[in-house]
């Protein structure tokens, strides 16, 4: 029981990271119907920028941990969002209205480009960082096995919940959210109603990149090591999460992320850790066969 609870806490933390990235996939898919293949790389860039920002703050002599966290969070979001915007502007916008596979292939190219860009600029070696937080709460103790919720895990879960709440408000209450939902339904009609469609799409990418940057910061803190290749697998799993939850649905992305995180944690704990990625992809295939709309997705109507 204690072991189960510990894995649950670990899976939840992992799921929060996947969920934040999955939101980026789901929003972009909802609005322009393409898989933003480079989104995993945006998350990787976010992780790098966060680690660089910590290093710079260390040189500047910022000693207070909450202060450093807030500054790094803001820096990572702003600079990563610039990458998100640029990727959309250069690789996807010129291809709007082109044939269906073109943006996807351009996205794959972008993903390869960004991976090697970071590798060239920052080196191929794994980058490490010392832990920022130590300690945590002991939730329960059972036959000498101690279930802990570390402060870092608590921070990740709380921040994710807060971001989700803010995001739901943003989509449902603000002008930007309305414009986004309008573009999702019918771009031409939205344009006729005076919505700047290009700008709305750009902002969607910026928001998605911002969330990916937060996810990058979290995994930098959680694992303490990053390299230029981390975006590929995590991006694939986050996309799986988006599909599992129902692509196009924000709560679905979060739910899918948490489920994938839990599945991975439990699989690694009770079965074979080497095959935990296989488990995640098998889930993707099974979901697509039996429930292609995902858990919370709307069925797609095909019109002629």
């Amino acid at each position: 029981m204690a072991y189960f609870l510990q894995q649950f806490v670990n899976g939840l933390t992992l799921g929060a990271v996947y969920g934040l990235i999955a939101i980026g996939y789901t929003m972009v898919y909802g609005i322009i119907g393409m898989i933003n293949f480079a989104h995993g790389e945006i998350y990787m860039i976010g992780a790098f920028i966060a680690m660089i920002a910590f290093a710079v703050l260390g040189v500047a002599g910022v000693a207070s941990v909450p202060m450093a966290l807030i500054v790094v969070l803001l820096l990572a979001i702003v600079f990563t969002a610039a990458y998100g915007w640029t990727v959309e502007r250069l690789a996807y916008r010129p291809l709007r209205g082109s044939f269906r596979l073109a943006p996807l292939i351009s996205a794959i190219g972008m993903s390869i480009f960004l991976q090697n860009y970071v590798q060239l600029l920052q080196g191929a070696r794994v980058k490490a960082m010392g832990p920022l937080f130590r300690g945590g709460f002991v939730l329960m103790e059972d036959e000498g096995f101690r279930v802990t919720l570390s402060y870092l895990q608590l921070f990740i879960i709380v921040l994710t919940v807060a971001l989700m709440a803010g995001f739901t408000l943003l989509i449902q209450r603000t002008a930007l959210g309305r414009a986004q939902r309008a573009c999702e339904q019918d771009q031409k009609m939205a344009a006729l109603c005076g919505i700047n469609v290009d700008r709305t799409i750009s902002l969607t990418f910026v928001l998605g990149a911002g969330l990916a940057a937060v996810a990058g910061l979290m995994s930098t803190l959680y694992y303490g090591v990053i390299d230029f290749f981390i975006g590929f697998l995590v991006g694939l799993k986050a996309f799986t999460a988006a599909v599992l939850g129902g692509i196009g649905s924000l709560p679905g992305a979060m739910l899918g992320g948490v489920l994938i995180g839990l599945i991975e944690a439990f699989w690694a704990a009770y079965f074979d850790a080497a095959y935990k990625d296989v488990a995640a992809f098998s889930i993707l295939i099974l979901v697509l066969i039996f429930r292609p709309t995902g858990l919370l997705g709307r069925p797609q109507v095909e019109k002629v």
């Binding site: 600079f79 610039a82 291809l95 082109s98 269906r100 596979l101 190219g109």
Partner: protein, 437 residues
């Protein structure tokens, strides 16, 4: 300099707008370059971060000048060209009637390459690598170009072919010619097994599922050590024989070596040349097969489904079966290529079958122009030979590769030799345009 020449013909309003755009672009470039190019994490986390201001300056200046130049070029040169047919398309229009002749000439050139005086071991080896990619490209072209299914895990079938070939050779003691068709059959079987459940999905879901499948195969190959040798792989795979003639200096008892049979001195290059002709034959087989099957009902059905799935279904085609046949056949050719790859290398391990390999094969199909057989040759030559020529830029290779994929898509979304006429048409119908978004 360019500015000074351009200035007299460009109005000051245009100039001001160009400057504005360039400033915005430079500002964004600053934001992009500052964290990743301007600062570098030290290898030892105890050291302090390395600051490289000049990298940022260079990046920002390059983007500023580049954007300014582009804006001025667009204002001056582009309007006069905007309505014209692009140069490449005009050139293609001249070449297209001759394409059959060009193809035959090209095949002849490739066939006599090993006999050329300059053809040493390295050149022939490189030629074989190009031909492997051409074959893979043609195989994937059946799936992507003809049937319009985006397969991002093509390398999985290549891996299945290579491993099943190797295991058959080692455990069942088959020879190359018996194991080759079996390797193709195994790969096709995997294609059908994967395809059957997922081919009902929309195009981009299919892409992700195939990508996930490719990763699954690789993870299984790494972890199933008792069968596949894990990440070490399997070594000492024997070279095929030519009608029982081996390519060793000292043949085993009871075997005849190639050089003994023909009474010529032994040379290691014989084996290389033999492998070269083998892959040439396999590649041509793929080509002939896909050219012929286009004219069969099943090939027509692929193209019909690619152009308009709903209309094809309305005509009574079963989309799952049609797609499945394309998927399985494409996988089969990957299996053949995999078997050849295993026998040429003499060893295999999972690191030859990563996603990047799938991306390269897809890039060959897409950059060449989907559905175009010549385009595949052109793209394979470019992608394999360019890194060989530019060895000094080896570390930039994948960077350029990714950038080129984006650039070609933006410039010519349908590929370099974009020629995608359905094989059968009803006279001059106004077709080929995408519906307005």
């Amino acid at each position: 300099m360019a500015l000074a020449r351009a200035a007299p013909t460009v109005s000051s309003g245009v100039l001001r707008a160009a400057f504005g755009e360039a400033l915005v672009a430079a500002g964004i470039a600053f934001m992009l370059a500052l964290p990743l190019a301007g600062l570098r994490l030290p290898i030892n986390p105890m050291d302090s971060v390395i600051f490289r201001p000049w990298w940022v300056v260079v990046a920002v200046a390059t983007v500023f000048l580049g954007r300014l130049g582009l804006a001025l070029w667009r204002a001056r040169v582009a309007p006069s060209r905007r309505n014209g047919v692009p140069l490449l398309d005009r050139a293609l229009a001249y070449i297209l009637p001759w394409r059959r002749g060009i193809f035959v000439a090209f095949v002849l050139l490739v066939a006599i390459l090993p006999l050329m005086p300059f053809a040493d071991r390295r050149v022939i080896d490189l030629g074989a690598v190009v031909l492997i990619y051409v074959m893979l490209g043609w195989g994937l072209n059946i799936v992507v170009g003809l049937a319009g299914l985006l397969d991002l895990g093509y390398v999985a079938f290549y891996a299945v072919g290579a491993y099943s070939y190797t295991l058959l050779i080692i455990h069942l003691d088959l020879n190359f010619w018996a194991a080759l068709p079996l390797a193709g059959a195994f790969a096709a079987l995997f294609g059908v097994l994967l395809g059957f459940p997922v081919l009902r999905l929309r195009g981009d879901y299919l892409a992700i599922v195939t990508l996930g499948f490719g990763e699954m195969i690789r993870i299984i190959l790494i972890n199933w050590s008792s069968l596949t040798g894990g990440s070490e792989g399997i070594t000492s795979i024997p070279t095929p024989t030519l009608f029982g003639l081996t390519f060793t200096a000292v043949p085993a008892p009871g075997e005849t070596a190639f050089h003994q049979f023909f009474g010529i001195p032994f040379a290691g290059v014989h084996r290389i040349i033999f492998l070269y002709y083998l892959i040439l034959a396999l590649a041509l087989l793929t080509h002939v097969f896909s050219m012929r099957i286009r004219r069969l009902p099943v090939g027509r059905a692929w193209e019909a489904l690619r152009e308009d799935e709903i209309a094809a279904r309305a005509l009574g085609l079963n989309p799952v079966m049609v797609k499945l046949s394309a998927f399985g056949l494409g996988a089969m050719f990957a299996g053949f290529a995999g078997a050849f790859f295993a026998t040429r290398q003499g060893f295999i391990n999972p690191s030859s079958f990563t996603f990047i390999e799938s991306a390269i094969i897809l890039a060959i199909v897409v950059l060449g122009g989907m559905g175009s057989q010549m385009g595949v040759i052109l793209a394979a030559l470019l992608l394999v030979l360019l890194p060989e020529v530019a060895r000094d830029f080896a570390e930039f290779r994948m960077l350029l590769f990714g950038g080129a994929m984006v650039a070609v898509m933006v410039w010519r979304p349908r590929g370099l030799l974009a020629h995608r006429e359905p094989t059968a048409t009803l006279g001059d119908l106004s077709r080929g345009r995408e519906p307005a978004p």
